[in-house]
Symmetry: C2
Subunit: 431 residues, 2 copies
């Protein structure tokens, strides 16, 4: 851990720094795989799965029988837990629905904005050491509420050629039936171009390693939208002596166990409190199954104390954390004034795990400082706004001259004509 | 013009095709300029301005005196027109404000979503043959309403080293004072990295040629967000005999005069009507100052008739036009069922020019089929959502077990611990 006591603003840049990632080499690989999948479809998908996942998949699409078998293999207490999470996530995302916005801007000029679901979306669920079924909930639930008509899910097969039961059960619970055993760059390529079995989609969602992340970035060159650029997960905690060091340590460790590239920062108001948290971290660390990963992250972590609320707030906003935990006597001040963060957890009984799984908020959030410009995944991520305008004769009379003058000034005579000839007709008729 | 009468769905792909663009060569140039601007700042900006815009700019930032001088040079009727447009655009975008969304998902678990303005945005206003002051309105007004704290405007200097008076007047009217004489790739590089004079921003907005478009795409690799990917402007009109061929021709031509890469499509329900529009186009074309451009576009245009409403609707949604004009006896059907479009103009008195300038809707819209996944610029483009959660002791008791079970199933023990130790404390206290 690196301690910094009331650091000077000139020295913040080091404390704000994120691990740099270079994607140059990966880009070449992505371009190659994209080109292959685009040309050869399923055949190349299967070949890459053999190469990268070390398993032969005969049929890429998961069958209804496989889904049924997976669902019946899930224990009841996990089913109940997933269902409770689903209910909360549904409640929070349902509430994000918006009405049509309609305004008469000038008499006879009616403008409105309506949201329409994106028609086809792809959800990417990473593989790895554990089944990340919680991400299925976070992506599939808002997609369904938004009214997406085709939801496609891709996830890499494990060594026995299957997608984990938990992922299949959760997908099925969320009404998703188009599930494909494919991961990595080749999955993103399949969703971008479409293959014999995988549908081409309009937008791709979901986390992934640096290969998937780079592939998503490249996919945008081919007309596909993505949820957001992604980097390693991160947590910033602001705590003071009104919090409990034991909880703060546990929350730091829960972030630290994600992967060795995770970042954790503690901002406190005293060195003594930071020392106590440090000791708690060391005490809890030894009991963790993923202690090797968590220790590496904690070794790189930063514990910073500031003397003032203003410095603390400015530091939060300059870092723009994915997750922000507030456990201080001034939570209202920080919650009201924070401008850059993905999701905020307030008070001693709101651990990050709650938002990761079951409180109702989405856990697909902007990392790497992207919360300065991006939202986390929410209901609007699955739709787009269309504007409409309907102008009456009188409406055009009211704004027509302004349009003519502006079009003329921009040197666009045909734009002006389109108004002038209508106005001439209206004038004739009114005589 | 290419006519197609009730084309078979198998033959649609040709009719839906957009001009392909290759950016490979441009990318190399962009990378070079980005690297130079990043290292040498203003000096390289000035050098590129000399090379590409053929003018020497001593001071990149526009002075208050220049802005005052420009404003007093604008004629009163243009000032009034711009002010009318500003009022309508303001009314429509003000109405897009949303409230905080707050939900108790489970007793004791309160989740909410709040929007916060992006702190720093860059607005790019292209140069060229005419001053595109209308785009200043379309970007600056929602940025101000959203509450963006730093708005930076870049636009290329003309041969005399100035930004057009109309652009400066409009910027000043919208409360923008940070205006820089820089265009092209070097402008996007300046906004991405910041220089001695140009502030680094979080998100870049605005249209541009293929150089600017590619530069914006590359900027996203450096942590900057962009409004949307861009392509040439386009219009699809659906018309029948209830419309007036003269107006339809004028609207097609208003789109066609933008540039030789513009696309226009007419979908009608009879060959005869298409013939009438064709004759009208030829008649009006000869009087246009930009007839060379417009003729090239009209030569490539497609006039398609369908026998059924369903085919027409499916064709609209497959093409996903930036601008969609509906002049038929079935406008309600199309307006209700369209899912992919940027902005929709309904009826005989709603020409595209109205939305380009003064109705109130935004004219920065998704082209190239991007309306399948992207919205046009709107109030939300200038802010992002942050989620919050505050969980009480009882709240954690209500959802804690579900979190524990899910974290365990995902192999994330530290995530579980963060909940378990809090639940243990609550249980102890309650005994």
């Amino acid at each position: 851990m690196k301690f910094a006591i009331n650091p000077n603003r000139n020295d913040w840049s080091d404390l704000l720094r994120r691990p740099t990632q270079t994607f140059e080499n990966i880009e070449m690989t992505v371009n190659e795989i994209f080109s292959e999948v685009r040309q050869r479809g399923d055949a190349s998908i299967k070949a890459y799965t053999e190469t990268f996942d070390d398993v032969t998949v005969k049929q890429i699409k998961v069958t209804p029988e496989e889904i049924d078998r997976a669902s019946s293999a899930i224990l009841n207490d996990l089913k109940s837990a997933i269902q409770l999470a689903k209910a909360n996530i549904t409640a929070f995302h349902e509430a994000q629905k918006t009405d049509c916005i309609k305004v008469t801007t000038t008499q006879g000029v009616v403008c409105w904005q309506e949201k329409r679901a994106i028609q086809k979306v792809g959800l990417y669920i990473p593989g790895g050491t554990a089944p990340l079924f919680s991400t299925v909930l976070m992506l599939a639930i808002p997609a369904q509420i938004a009214g997406v008509s085709e939801i496609v899910l891709c996830s890499p097969p494990n060594k026995s050629g299957n997608i984990p039961d938990e992922v299949l059960y959760t997908a099925q619970l969320c009404g998703i039936s188009k599930i494909f055993k494919v991961g990595g760059i080749q999955a993103i390529a399949g969703l971008t171009f479409g293959t014999e079995s995988i549908p081409k989609v309009n937008k791709i969602f979901g986390p992934g390693n640096q290969f998937v992340t780079t592939a998503k970035q490249i996919a945008t060159k081919f007309g596909v939208a993505i949820d957001m650029p992604a980097g390693p997960s991160e947590l910033l905690i602001v705590a003071d002596e009104t919090s409990k060091a034991q909880y703060i340590a546990a929350d730091l460790l829960s972030q630290a166990e994600h992967g060795t590239d995770s970042q954790v920062i503690l901002v406190a108001n005293s060195k003594q409190f930071m020392e106590t948290v440090k000791q708690e971290v060391e005490r809890q660390l030894v009991a963790l199954p993923r202690q090797t990963i968590a220790k590496k992250v904690m070794d790189k972590s930063r514990f910073i104390s500031f003397n003032s609320k203003t410095d603390t707030l400015d530091f939060i906003n300059a870092y723009a954390p994915e997750h922000l935990i507030l456990c201080t006597s001034e939570n209202d001040f920080y919650a009201t004034n924070v401008v850059n963060a993905g999701s905020v957890f307030i008070g001693n009984f709101s651990p990050e795990s709650a938002g990761d799984y079951a409180s109702g908020t989405n856990h697909t959030l902007p990392t790497n400082g992207y919360s300065k410009a991006y939202s986390g995944v929410n209901l609007d991520s699955f739709s787009k706004s269309i504007t409409f305008q309907e102008i009456s004769e009188q409406g055009l009379v009211n704004i027509g001259n302004a349009i003519e003058v502006m079009a003329e000034a921009e040197g666009l005579q045909a734009h002006k004509n389109a108004v002038s000839m209508r106005l001439a007709d209206i004038n004739l008729k009114r005589k």
